[in-house]
Symmetry: C2
């Protein structure tokens, strides 16, 4: 059941280092300058739960999902990471979740030890590192409110607004992930995601010119669904 999910490690394609300066946050800069680039195919596993955490990762292009699995195949995606984001840095030992490529993507990789050595040299970096973890924690808390207390419409509204903010700025979003990914992120089924999107379209809040392309027509209406007393 759902076995396609565990196709697991598709091929890993090394490629020439990227000197991305899309995002100039110092943490990402460290990766861009010191790290090396790798390519991952769609659905490739970047690291697995319980695996020793040896590297830090930064996204040059594409998107990554962080997930936890149950033994019967149920999956919860706890976050999507997009270009400029850093992930996989554990304080100790092992990863507590797995990371997979949502689509083909280019990832910057740096040894954890090298990254931490750099942080030790630069106090402000250590502080930013902590700040970084805390911002993830804040996101996680907002997401718990969504998962525990919001209706399907509210979940989709929150999701679309978040995605718009993170990867478009304009009213149109090009989603990097499948409906199944969205469902597993929002704690819904693929059918409910699909139905709810068409519902939002019928209500005039969005239009869906292509399944992965969504235009926000009424941000205000979406924000009302989102509630957004949460940060």
């Amino acid at each position: 059941m759902l076995s396609w999910r565990s196709e697991g490690s598709a091929r890993v394609i090394p490629f020439e280092p990227v000197r991305s300066n899309l995002k100039s946050q110092p943490l990402f800069e460290v990766l861009a300058v010191m790290g090396s680039g790798m390519g991952f195919e769609r659905n490739a596993e970047i690291f697995a739960e319980d695996e020793p955490a040896e590297y830090v990762y930064g996204i040059a292009s594409g998107a990554v999902r962080i997930c936890k699995l149950m033994s019967d195949g149920r999956r919860q995606i706890s976050a999507f990471y997009l270009p400029g984001d850093i992930f996989g840095l554990e304080a100790a030992g092992h990863h507590s979740f797995s990371a997979e490529a949502v689509g083909d993507c280019r990832i910057l990789v740096l040894k954890r030890t090298a990254f931490l050595a750099q942080a030790a040299r630069d106090d402000s970096l250590m502080a930013q590192l902590w700040e970084h973890s805390m911002s993830h924690l804040r996101r996680a808390q907002s997401h718990m409110l969504l998962l525990g207390r919001k209706s399907a419409q509210e979940r989709l509204a929150s999701f679309l607004l978040d995605m718009a903010e993170r990867l478009s700025k304009s009213g149109a979003i090009e989603l990097p992930m499948s409906r199944q990914d969205i469902a597993d992120y929002l704690g819904l089924t693929i059918e409910t995601v699909s139905r709810t999107l068409t519902l939002l379209e019928r209500e005039g809040l969005i239009t869906i010119p292509a399944s992965r392309r969504i235009v926000l027509r009424d941000r205000h209406g979406l924000s009302e669904l989102d509630d957004c007393l949460a940060a």
Copy 2:
């Protein structure tokens, strides 16, 4: 609706500093040595969402809930903190959630700035601070799996096992929180929590000698419900 929840700040009772050494984790020690003690009554607000984050808190006795609210009163508790736990430390500016006393409790309080100054003096403390945030993040991720993908029975099983581990070690748990708190933590209603507990009792997995006292009769059975591929 649900207005009792917002009784808000019940009286705050200052009390003589506690030199607790229940838990000797260095972070908590800093609070025990440098901080001052305060008492909070049941349901008192310790700090509110969006309030400037000026202090760090440690629990000497009692329990605290961390929550987010929606404008219509829906509430999600993202964590419970128990004796020995530290909370309220933000990397920057403002709290992204509120904290309330679950029952009467004694809290150690220290100025954020004093705490961070100490951390700056002691490298290992800064590292532990980061480690601390990461362990919260790990918990949050497991909880997202619970909220997004688990059935009511599975949620209660996870909850009970977690509580047993954190506050009893033996098979009997004395719950510090109400059914409403449990419901808001697990993303359920109070009725579902109640029904599911009696169901678990009928199945012989637990016994409930008093509403706040629960005995785990079959940990193995509970673990199976819990699934617990999650850390």
